[in-house]
């Protein structure tokens, strides 16, 4: 009996420590169009351990499902930043931002206006 309890306790301990295989997270990522969507999702999904990445044009939210044992939100975020998209609280480097297509310069207000209607098409 005692052993059993110990085993159980150990198991509970392990499961508490075990990282979630299907961790979910939502982070805000800036962008303006469907091209941005592709770029953002591609950057996220190519991070090892990310299982699903869907960016919503209206809400600017990137919903992620990833394996916590293989990656962390930070590294996904870093990869998104690397392709030039600002994420929650962190700006992409100027160099990375410049690499996005001209029509995707989401920091520019004129460009934002141009794309204003796009989200509504879906």
């Amino acid at each position: 009996m005692k052993r059993l309890i110990i085993v159980l306790l150990l198991l509970v301990g392990i499961s508490a420590q075990a990282q979630n295989k299907n961790a979910k997270a939502n982070i805000e990522v800036d962008g303006v169009c469907m091209m941005c969507k592709q770029r953002i999702e591609k950057a996220a999904i190519r991070t090892k351990g990310v299982k699903s990445a869907v960016w919503n044009l209206d809400t600017h939210m990137l919903s992620l499902i990833f394996d916590e044992r293989k990656t962390a939100l930070d590294s996904i975020q870093a990869n998104v930043l690397a392709v030039g998209h600002d994420t929650e609280g962190v700006m992409a480097t100027e160099e990375a931002y410049n690499s996005v297509h001209d029509c995707c310069k989401y920091r520019d207000e004129d460009i934002q206006d141009e794309h204003k209607n796009e989200g509504k098409q879906e």
Binding site: M1, K2, I5, L8, L9, V12, N22, K24, N26, Q38, E41, K42, I45, V50, K51, S52, A53, V54, N56, D58, T59, H60, M61, S63, I65, K116, N117, K120, Q121
Partner: protein
């Protein structure tokens, strides 16, 4: 000791017991879960953001009473909460955002740039371009599918893809194979056009998920869904050939989760026409009642969607001679089914009555936690009964069918690698009477499939599938299929596909026109399991290239398709001796090469042009040597022009659509041995037809249309050989290369309430 156990047990419960408030926030217009909405308790800092499905969870305390839900672009709502519970709430979009107009116009027909398969999506807008009437006629504005001319007896229009007839195509409704077996010949005319929401056409082998039967391609028709269709829809149609149709849809919500739709179709074809004076009706008369009741269940919290369908159909088709040859007045009455008056020759008549009953269901379950995991179960039962006679020939068939398919969808490592796997089961019972011979056949199969698809989100995507089936008559076999797409540069798609398919040929029901001839039926092989014949086995492979570009600042695209189908075995239907029709296993080779090029262009706003050219080279080794497939033109030209006026604020609009089809000469099956008055030249004349339609939309609720088919009144004058003596040798109605009736004009209306 016990205490520890007790604590261990209680601990999780205690954690769960903490009071929470859960709920789902929906978009008030689309009804979909709203992702990213802010939900918080008023005057606190406790809040949450909804997830992808619009769900949220918040801690709850008695002191919290007012819940604020806000989202940019939507009106903020504050709810009073009495206790911990599950709440659902819809947010309304702010009106100033509603007025945003969408400038890009969706194309009615589009080829995919992204999918691995060569798939053509046909929306309901395209289906409205030719107002008529059932699924077989829905393809008239689509160059990838060829629609044959109806013969005078069956009146049905069979379709072809890559130059081969519909039995080689897997035709499904909502991914359940439906136009097959006994329904092969008439089945497309048993699906009313207004029931169809959209059509997906896949050229080439297609997916393994829906079975092994497809050889040249797959066509899937999505039906109207109670949740999306109009709450009331009424369509009326009348044509000068005596065809009248009525379609009514009623859709209603039963409760939060259930919606139901009733779809009624009725038609009457009572034209009495004999324009070519051969004493045979130019088109059959008849009537049809067709009822469909659909139930849709949606439970977003559990991720469940389900459809249950019930359908009943009764169709009567009559054709043949109008009055006996020697009677003076027109009305001889009665069906001269073998009998007749003592001193006058009996009438050659034909009657086909079909009844069909279908029950099908689909159950889909998406894991709410992991949206890429889903499970689907499809089941379908159908009973199809045809009783018919054609002159002195009797033909009855009853086909009972059951289909079950279970599909599991998931990913491997990430969403670039998707898999579909599952098992399927089919049962088909055939009971046929061909004159005095009975044919009974039971077929069943169990199969498993696995399909992997990869999309690197750039240039490459592929779908590789394999299925293994064990069939009581076809044996155990493996069906592999592969589709690859690569985009070498922008707006391009280079595709390759290869795959195999097999099926048992239902020789009588697929070739029913043989009963309207004086030909004898000869089955030359005895050892096979299906009428003495072997199953058909074929490989299909092809390449396709699609390129989009700008022409004078406007969108254009061009496609080149080349496909080849090679039969390892085929049930050859040999019409080359006018005294008989022979069925035998392929001795030698049989192939179909098809080339198609298609050009789409929008030279100015709301004006679309589609041009296509097709070339078919279809050859089979007959007993009399290698011959081109009869009654199939080698070259075809297709042109379609559509124009819409600017849609006014009231919704009023004009729509114009014109389609031109040109068919090269077609080879007649040999009539060499017939006496000269009953023999035909080697080839038919060429044929060009024009169809046009004008639609006036008065408002989103009401529209009228008027149109014409075959407006230049092209006709095949003597479609029946030896029409004077239908009970004698040489009588044959199968040499149809063009329209028999000539031009047809029609008008109709559509009325709908959201």
């Amino acid at each position: 000791m016990r205490l520890i156990l007790f604590i261990l047990l209680v601990l999780p419960i205690g954690i769960m017991g903490q009071e929470t408030l859960e709920g789902v926030i929906f978009d008030g217009t689309s009804g979909e879960g709203l992702f990213g909405a802010n939900v918080y308790w008023l005057h606190t800092e406790i809040g949450a953001v909804t997830d992808m499905d619009g769900k949220f969870r918040l801690p709850y305390e008695d002191t919290y009473t007012e819940l604020v839900i806000s989202y940019i672009g939507y009106t903020t709502d504050t709810l009073t909460i009495a206790g911990p519970a599950i709440i659902t709430h819809s947010l309304k979009a702010k009106s100033d955002l509603d007025e945003v107009t969408v400038s890009a116009r969706k194309k009615a027909t589009a080829r995919s740039y992204l999918k691995a398969e060569n798939m053509i999506m046909v929306s309901s807008d395209e289906l409205l371009k030719a107002a008529c009437c059932n699924l077989s006629e829905s393809f008239e504005t689509n160059p990838s599918i060829d629609v044959n001319f109806a013969d005078a007896v069956t009146g049905t229009r069979q379709i072809q893809m890559l130059g081969l007839k519909s039995p080689n195509i897997l035709i499904a409704t909502e991914n359940i194979p439906s136009i097959r077996g006994a329904a092969q010949t008439y089945g497309l005319s048993f699906i009313p056009g207004t029931w169809v929401e959209s059509i997906q056409i896949t050229k080439g082998a297609g997916s393994v998920v829906n079975g092994f039967e497809s050889i040249t391609g797959q066509i899937n028709a999505e039906l109207q869904k109670p949740s999306k269709d109009f709450s009331f829809y009424q369509n009326l149609y009348a044509a000068n050939n005596g065809r009248r149709e009525l379609n009514s849809h009623i859709n209603t919500r039963v409760n939060e989760k259930w919606e139901t739709g009733f779809y009624l179709h009725g038609n009457l074809r009572d034209g009495h026409h004999d324009k070519n004076n051969d004493n045979f009706l130019d088109m059959p008369r008849g009537k049809q009642v067709n009822l469909l009741n659909r139930w849709q269940y949606t439970n977003p919290e559990k991720g469940m969607v389900s459809f249950i369908n019930f359908r009943y159909m009764d169709d009567l088709n009559e054709s043949g001679q109008i009055h006996s040859n020697d009677s003076v007045d027109g009305d001889a009455g009665g069906h001269g089914h073998g009998g007749g008056n003592s001193n006058s020759q009996p009438l050659w008549r034909s009657e086909v009555e079909t009844q069909r009953f279908d029950v099908s269901s689909k159950l889909g379950w998406v894991n709410p936690e992991i949206p890429y995991q889903s499970l689907g179960v499809q089941t379908a039962f159908s009973w199809h009964d045809q009783e018919s006679y054609f002159g002195l020939n009797d033909y009855d068939i009853t086909h009972t069918s059951f289909y079950g398919n279970l599909v599991y969808n998931s990913i491997i490592s990430d969403s670039r690698h998707k898999i579909k796997t599952g098992v399927s089961f089919t049962y088909d019972g055939y009971d046929e009477l061909v004159n005095d011979d009975e044919y009974d056949r039971k077929e069943n199969s169990v199969g498993a499939f696995f399909e992997y698809s990869y999309d690197n989100l750039d240039a490459l995507s592929l779908t590789a599938g394999v299925r293994a089936d064990n069939h009581n008559l076809l044996g155990f076999f493996v069906t592999p299929r592969l589709h690859v797409k690569y985009s070498p540069w922008e707006k391009s798609a280079l595709r390759f596909s290869i795959g195999s398919g097999r099926r048992s040929a239902n020789i009588f029901t697929e070739n029913q026109q043989l009963f309207s001839t004086s030909r004898n039926i000869n089955i030359l092989d005895k050892d096979g399991k299906i009428y003495g014949l072997d199953p058909e086995v074929a490989w299909n492979y092809g390449v396709s290239y699609l390129q989009g570009f700008n022409l004078l600042g406007r969108k254009a695209d061009i496609t080149f398709d080349f496909y080849r189908t090679e039969f390892l075995n085929q049930v050859v239907v040999d019409w080359e001796n006018p005294q008989n029709v022979r069925f035998y296993n392929l001795r030698g080779e049989s192939y179909a090469n098809s080339f198609q090029t298609e050009f789409n262009y929008t030279p100015f706003e709301r004006f679309d042009i589609r041009l296509a050219y097709k070339y078919y080279d279809i050859q089979t080794d007959y007993l009399s040597g290698k011959l081109e497939k009869p009654l199939t033109p080698k070259n075809r030209i297709f042109a379609n022009i559509g124009y819409e006026t600017h849609e006014k604020e009231s919704g009023s609009q004009w729509k114009f659509d014109v389609t031109y089809n040109w068919l090269d000469s077609q080879r007649y099956p040999s009539t060499e041995t017939n006496p000269t008055q009953f023999s035909l030249p080697e080839r038919s004349p060429t044929i060009g037809t024009i169809n046009a339609q004008i639609t006036k939309v008065f408002s989103p609720r009401f529209e009228l249309y008027i149109g014409g088919e075959n407006m230049t009144n092209v006709r095949q004058n003597n479609p029946i050989i030896n029409a004077e003596n239908p009970f004698a040798t040489y009588f044959d109605t199968t040499f149809v290369y063009g329209p028999i009736f000539g031009s047809t004009y029609y008008t109709g209306l559509r009325y709908k309430i959201e």
